[in-house]
Structures are given as C-alpha cells and as structure tokens.
C-alpha cells in the first residue's frame, strides 16, 4: 500500500491535477486516469524519470465504454486506452487509463517510448479503430487487410449468423490474395544495399519451421537476414470477442485453447481473475489440485518445446521420446480430468471434480520415471556439440532489451534475472511450495533451453510436494457464485433452488468491477483483465499473452544471422501462434 501512495504522490507532485482520478479495482494494481493530452508525458515520466522506473510496457489495450452502465467513478468517454506498466525494481504494476471521445478517436502513439508498443497499438487500431498518431506502421495486424469494421467495438457483430452468409466469388478471392502481396516499402524495408539487391523470401504462413501459421518476410543477402517483417493473425479466432457473448462459466473452455499447449494453465489465470471479481475464496485442496495440474501442463508444454526445438535443429529422434513422455503426462491428466490437451478443468471457485480414487499412484510413478529420462535428454540434446554450436551465442538479447520488449518467463530468466511470478507474486499457495527459479546468463538460444530444461525438474519437484501434502477438504468453494453451483444446496429451500437454477441456466451474475490476474504460465506472464458490468457475461476480457510480446522482438534479434539461425531462434522462443493471435 505504501508503494501505491508513493507513486500517486510522486505523480501528483509532478503533474498536479493532470492526474484526473484514481480508480478502485479488485486487484492490487494502482489505476489512475490522465487526460489524453498528458498520457504521453506521464508514461514517459513513469518509464524514464521516476525512481525505480516502470520499464516494461506490460500491456496496452482499449475498452469500448459506450454501452457500459457501471462506471460512475470514472471520467466520461467513449473509449478507454489502458496502459499497463510493470516495474521489476519495485515489483509493482501501474495502470494508466485515458479516455477518448468520439466515434473514431485518436491519441498519440507511445512507440517512441517503448518499441514494443508497436504491435499493441496496431492491435487496438485493428480491433477498435482508434488512431495512433506518430505510429510508424499503423496497419491491421490480426484481421485481414480487407476486413470491414473493427471487431471489438460493441456495434460489431459477434456471431457469423449476424453477418449474412459468407461468399467468396472469384474477384473477391483474387483481391484478397492481392492484399497479401508484400510490398517492402510499406513496411519500411529497403530493397537492397548499394551494390546488392535483397532477395525477399516469404517464410510461411505454411512452413515446417514456424510451428504454426506465421508469416515472416525476410530480406536476404545470400543467406544472411538483412531485415525481417512478421505478419501474424492467421490464427486469430476472436477469443476476446467471444468472451463478450459466452457466460462467465462457458468461457472457460475457450481459454484452454489460447495457449493450446498450456491446457488448464490458461484456466488458471482466468478463474483467479474472476474469483477476485466475485470475491470467492478457493479452498486449500482446490488450490493445490490447480497447482498440480498446472505444473503437469508446464511439463507437457515444455516437452513439446524441447522436442520440437531439437527437431528445428535437425535432430530427428528427441521429438519422439518427448512426445512419448508427454503422452504419459496426458495419461495422468485424463485419469484425473477425463480430457487430454484441453480439459477445461478449473471452475469458478475450485475445480470440476474431486481427485479420483487412486490418483496418487500414476503421479508417483511418473515422478520416479521422469528424472532418468531428463538425464538422458541432457546427453542427447543439451550436451550435443552440434546442438551447442547451433545455439550458443545465437539470438541473444540483453536483460535491458528483454525488459524493453516485454519479455517474461524463461526468456527473461535466461538473461540472468531471477523473476518468476510464482515467487514474486505467489498465488494459489505457491509460497508454501519449495522450488528454485532457474536462471542463465547469456540470453541466447542455448540459455533459454537451459532454463526450460531445469524448469521441468522444478515442476516435478512441485508435483512431488503436491502429492505428499494434498490437503483434505473440499475441491470447490461454497460461495453462491461458484460454477456450477453445488447441488447439495438445491434441495433446502426455494431460495437456493432458484439461485441454483439461474446459475446453471444463465450463469452467475458477477458484480460490476474490474479485475486483473497474472500467472507465470508456461511461456511467460499470462494475464486476464476482466471487466464486469454486473451481468452474466463479461463486458470486456483482455487476454495478455507472453507469446505476443516475444514474437514481436524476433525480427530484431534475427538481423545479421542466417535462415538456419532464425529457425533456431523461433524454436528457442517457444511461442504458440494461438497464444499470439488469440
């Protein structure tokens, strides 16, 4: 609390009443409002001048406020831009909001303060039609260039049935195809140096090395990458828009598919944000089940990364071994949840069901089995000399660059910073578990791998503690807003029966407010920023994913390297395209 008032005081001292208001939210993030004209200066001050500055632009997003009824404590406006900053020195967050009026508002870009704002601002332009003045390349990023309308605006339909039948006549197909033609000048790319013309190579969206639908356009001088541009959005499914039409409860399975290798790890951030909004306290047992399942998915996700990374470098066998082990993890997951990759197992207030009888045996077997395999993989992959030659010193970035680009997770720890949200902001009982945060020092492809491999061991350690210390008690909270509500309560009186009926048919009504929750997901910091307008559905859900930030910086670290190195970098960054595009 001290820190909060401290920031506010400093800002008030510097900017006086340019700071319009502060806002109370259900999270512990200081939220303040500034005028559109001052936003840029306040943000620059927070990044560059304040002591222990907020150097990471964690997220930028917007809210269409035009239909929202519960916002009496906030300045008027049609749209709100939300800048979410993170200070690693202070271990604290600050949220700067500014409201815009008009149908097509504009605001000055902050790309000159943070390069990483580039994609975030493009996304807001794409989704809300808000102009950013001074942005170097304000083009659509997730939607196709020919898309009409801006999907996250409230007037844009959410369902295909509201849009009329889809047709693709020949001329339209041709014009769509033409839209995708690449013009280097538009991206600010040079056509060549003095005596060389670059060859432009279109890598993707279908390419074996991109791990999904990602298009990278390379300006090549021989095999050396002179410049690169990334084109994303091929995996965009409009998850944030869907959140505005699904009930709070029925959105849970959609989150599984955001980082589709993370499974319940995605549920984890969403349900915790929702629980803080609803004021639900989760029983200890449910917390520990969640931690255990999340760590299983960390192992499963890291195994996919491990195998495919080796595969990217041409090693053919590891991927088979690692997918076999992943299958063992899935056996446990399916024994407990019934699902494999996307079990959608977490519920508002707990988990879907209690652990089945005998759950501990497969878990124990796995804990005994896995370390020997990891030791073998070390020999096969990490200690292989060709593997080292291909990854050491390749795709390195410094800690400062990492912070500037919003890198979190293993990518940040590989630069030598001991930063893990499970330690720094413990949630769901992580503070009672013993585990180390592995770090490395060079920030190159090899070090990112070192960190992840060690994380596999640490996750196993956490699971071992969950196994030993699984508490007795309920797997779900008694709170009336839990989903689905507990059946035992229905038969007592008419009141509880009605509540149950409504909660099941319409879903729970979550009190109005804003809440944010961030977890250390498999790939970095994943967070859900939920806004409730006191309804059965979310007013706005913002999903901040680590892959988005990580992918954005790749062209920067790939310059001057070769195509083969680029593939190594892509593998080492460990992104999931669904996590990028949402």
């Amino acid at each position: 609390m001290d820190q909060k008032t401290d920031i506010l005081q400093q800002l008030r001292l510097r900017f006086g009443d340019q700071i319009l208001a502060t806002q109370i939210t259900h999270d512990d993030v200081t939220t303040l409002w500034v005028q559109k004209e001052n936003a840029h200066a306040v943000l620059r001050y927070l990044k560059e001048e304040i002591s222990d500055p907020f150097r990471m632009l964690y997220d930028v997003t917007a809210i269409d406020e035009r239909l929202r009824s519960h916002r009496q404590d906030q300045p008027d406006g049609d749209f709100t831009i939300v800048y979410h900053l993170l200070s690693l020195d202070r271990n604290s967050d600050v949220r700067v909001k500014t409201s815009l009026t008009g149908d097509r508002p504009n605001i000055s870009s902050v790309v000159d303060i943070w390069q990483s704002a580039n994609w975030y601002e493009r996304e807001i332009w794409d989704m809300f039609g808000i102009q950013f003045e001074g942005h170097p390349h304000l083009k659509r990023i997730l939607m196709p260039p020919s898309w009409e309308g801006h999907p996250l605006r409230k007037e844009h339909p959410a369902r295909a049935t509201e849009m009329g039948p889809f047709q693709l006549p020949e001329e339209k197909a041709e014009s769509l195809e033409k839209d995708l033609q690449f013009h280097p000048e538009e991206w600010g790319m040079k056509l060549g140096e003095e005596d060389t013309d670059y060859m432009f190579l279109n890598l993707g969206p279908q390419h074996p090395g991109t791990h999904g639908l990602l298009r990278i356009i390379l300006a090549l001088d021989g095999e050396e990458i002179a410049d690169a541009a990334m084109d994303i959005g091929y995996h965009h499914r409009g998850a944030e828009k869907m959140a505005e039409r699904q009930s709070w409860h029925t959105f849970i399975p959609y989150t599984d598919r955001i980082d589709y290798l993370g499974g319940v790890m995605n549920n984890f951030a969403y349900v915790q944000a929702l629980e803080s909004l609803a004021g639900i306290k989760v029983p200890e047992k449910a917390q520990m089940i969640r931690v255990m399942m999340a760590e299983f998915f960390r192992i499963s996700s890291h195994l996919v990364w491990y195998g495919t990374f080796a595969q990217d470098l041409g090693a053919m066998s590891p991927v088979f071994y690692m997918f076999n082990d992943r299958e063992r993890v899935f056996d446990i997951v399916s024994a407990i949840t019934g699902g494999r990759m996307h079990p959608a197992w977490f519920r508002l207030g707990g988990v879907s069901q209690d652990l089945p009888r005998g759950w501990d045996r497969p878990v124990r077997d796995f804990i005994e089995y896995f370390p020997a395999r990891l030791a073998e993989y070390d020999k096969l992959v990490m200690q292989n000399r060709i593997f080292k030659a291909r990854t050491k010193g390749i795709g390195a970035y410094t800690l400062d660059e990492a912070i500037d680009w919003g890198v979190t997770g293993p990518g940040l720890r590989a630069c030598g910073l001991d930063w893990d949200f499970r330690k720094k902001r413990p949630y769901s009982g992580y503070d009672q578990l013993e585990f180390d945060v592995p770090i490395a020092s060079n920030g190159d492809c090899y070090d990112r791998a070192v960190v992840r491999v060690e994380e596999l061991r640490q996750s196993l350690r956490i699971i071992g503690q969950c196994l030993k210390n699984m508490p007795e008690g309920s797997y779900k909270s008694d709170h009336p807003l839990t989903t689905p509500p507990r059946k035992e309560n229905t038969m007592k009186d008419i009141e509880t029966l009605i509540t149950h009926f409504l909660s099941v048919s319409w879903g729970p009504v979550i009190p109005p407010g804003e809440s944010f929750f961030r977890i250390e997901a498999t790939k970095g910091a994943n967070s859900y920023y939920l806004i409730s307008d006191g309804n059965t559905v979310a007013y706005r859900v913002r999903i901040r994913t680590p892959s988005f930030a990580h992918l954005q910086m790749i062209p920067n670290i790939a310059k001057g390297l070769t195509i083969a190195d680029l593939i190594a970098i892509l593998g080492s960054v460990d992104y999931v395209l669904a996590d990028v595009d949402r």
Partner: protein, 317 residues
C-alpha cells in the same frame, strides 16, 4: 561361360542388386528409425511392413508428374537423372568378390571421385531449374557444401592409395589380406566417413534439403518419380559410400568361412545401418559451420594424415 555373357550377367546382377538394396533401404531406414525412436515404423503392408516398398513404388509411379510452369523444363527433367546415373556408374568400379566387378579400372578411385563431383550438379541444377527461392537456396548450399567436403574426401583416401600402391579397388582389397586399412589409416577412415555423410547429404549435412529451414530445399518443386529419383539417388549414394568404406578400409570381400560376396554384403549393410543411426542421433550443422569444419579441421587433418602415412611408408621401405 563366355566372357561377354559373364560380364552382362555380372552387370545386370549388380544393377538389380543395387536398385533392390536402394529400394529396400526405404523400408529398412524407416523400420530402424522406428526401432530407435520408440515407435513402429511401417508395419501394415506385408509382414513387418515388408511390402511397404512396393506400396511406395506404386504411389510414386502413379502420382502426377508435374513440372511447374515457371521451371526451366529441360534442366528440371535432367537434374534428378544425373544423381541416379552418376551414383550407379560409381558402382562399376566396386569389386564384390575377386572376379565379380563390372570394370577393373586402373583409376577406379579417381573415377569414383569424379562421379561424386558430378552428382552435385544434380542438386545444384535442380535448385536452379525449379525457379523457387527455397530450391535456389538449397542448390546454393549444395554447391557450397561440395566445395567444403570434396577436397578432404579425396585427400582422406590418399593414405589408402599410398599403402596399396594403386588406385585400383581390386588391388586395394588384395593389399589388405594381412591387415585391414582401417588400422593404419584410422584417421583417413574417420575423415572419409564424414565426407561420405556430406556426399550423401544426410544429417548432419543435409543442408541442401534442411526441411525445417528450406521446406524441402532443392526438391521442393519435385513430385512423382522425379522426386523419387532424388530419393533413390540418396539411397544408392548411401549404399555406395558404405560399399566403399567396406572396400577401402575393411578388406572388401575378405573374411573367413563365408563366401566373399557375402562378406562384402554384410560389411556394406553394417555401414548402411551406421548411416541410419547417425541420422537418428545428430542435429544439423549450419552451412557456414560445415564449411569451417571442412576447411579448418578436416582439410588440415587429412593433410597431416597424408604426411604421416607418407613418412611411415618411406621409413618402412
């Protein structure tokens, strides 16, 4: 048997034998990789999947044989033939038993080196003729790679030639009656195996193809039997290099009890399996690393090998 008839029989037998081996390798490699990778590999067609080769052949022969409209057609068609022809021609000089060989060439080893240099044209031209950027990069890599390994490949064999006093493969085998050359020429053997891996463009030297980087590299645009020729060419290459290793360093057909051709075949297959194992075990080098490896490590090593071998031979005589 009259001499010409005998030659024709030998020729046909070797040709058929090599082609059958190359085709069989499709199955063998996939089964072995499956075994080493904790999975099955092809096991549906025939017993243990033994008819997989037939199924693959039917598939590859009946696929649309497509030439992209933007390709340089004559070159595009000729390129895959070059690799098959040159590798098959190399078999002409390999003695499978004392009198089972196609030609008893005085410059046998030089002939093989010449053919192996020619075979790279196949890949480079395929990459060029496809008029596809990925293929082009693959072709370029093949040409650069050839410069990297071809030099030390030739030099690595100089020791063998010095010991045997001949380029003739039959005489080289006969010179190994007492000791196999792998013992005096161990360094040469290692260098030749590395060069052989590069020659066949297999992991860790499969840069021209490099699936993860260049999609399919030089043969991205190829389909049907033209693609099949590259495929078969690669397997013939593997067989060829294995047969050469057996001949040059492991005494060729020499061995007790079993008939000579069988020894030759057994030795060849051991090395073929070795090649497959290498593919299962190693990642891929980057292309500048391969060049550096070739010029800065393998070339000096093979030169040292020549000097030391020469000195020892001089002293011994």
């Amino acid at each position: 048997m009259a001499e010409p008839v005998r030659s024709i029989v030998v020729l046909v037998a070797i040709l058929v034998g090599v082609l059958v081996t190359a085709a069989g390798l499709i199955w063998l490699e996939r089964r072995l990789l499956g075994l080493w990778q904790d999975r099955y590999g092809p096991n549906r067609a025939g017993r243990f999947g033994s008819l997989q080769v037939a199924a693959d052949m039917i598939k590859i022969f009946t696929k649309e044989d497509w030439v992209p409209p933007f390709a340089d057609k004559p070159v595009f068609v000729i390129a895959p033939a070059i690799i098959v022809v040159t590798t098959l021609l190399s078999f002409a000089i390999i003695p499978f038993a004392p009198h089972i060989e196609i030609v008893d060439l005085n410059i046998g080893l030089l002939f093989f080196l010449a053919m192996s240099s020619l075979s790279v044209y196949s890949v480079a031209l395929a990459g060029w003729a496809s008029d596809n950027k990925y293929s082009l990069l693959g072709g370029l890599r093949a040409a650069a790679q050839m410069l990297g390994y071809e030099v030390f490949m030739g030099l690595s064999l100089a020791g063998v030639v010095m010991l045997a006093g001949s380029f003739n493969l039959r005489e080289i085998v006969e010179a190994q009656t007492k000791t196999w050359f792998v013992i005096p020429q161990f360094l040469g053997f290692v260098i030749f195996v590395v060069a052989g891996l590069a020659e066949t463009r297999r992991i860790p030297f499969d840069l021209p193809e490099a699936e993860n980087e260049l999609v399919a590299g030089y043969h991205s645009e190829y389909s049907g039997m033209k693609f099949g020729m590259f495929f078969v060419g690669e397997y013939i290459g593997v067989t060829l290099i294995s047969a050469l290793i057996a001949t040059l360093f492991f005494g060729g057909w020499l061995g007790p009890l079993l008939p000579p051709p069988l020894w030759m075949i057994i030795k060849t297959f051991v090395f073929i399996c070795g090649f497959i194992l290498v593919r299962a075990a190693l990642p891929r080098l980057r292309y500048d690393q391969l060049l550096e490896f070739g010029w800065k490590l393998m070339l000096p090593l093979s030169l040292i090998n020549i000097m030391v071998s020469g000195a020892i031979i001089l002293v011994a005589s």
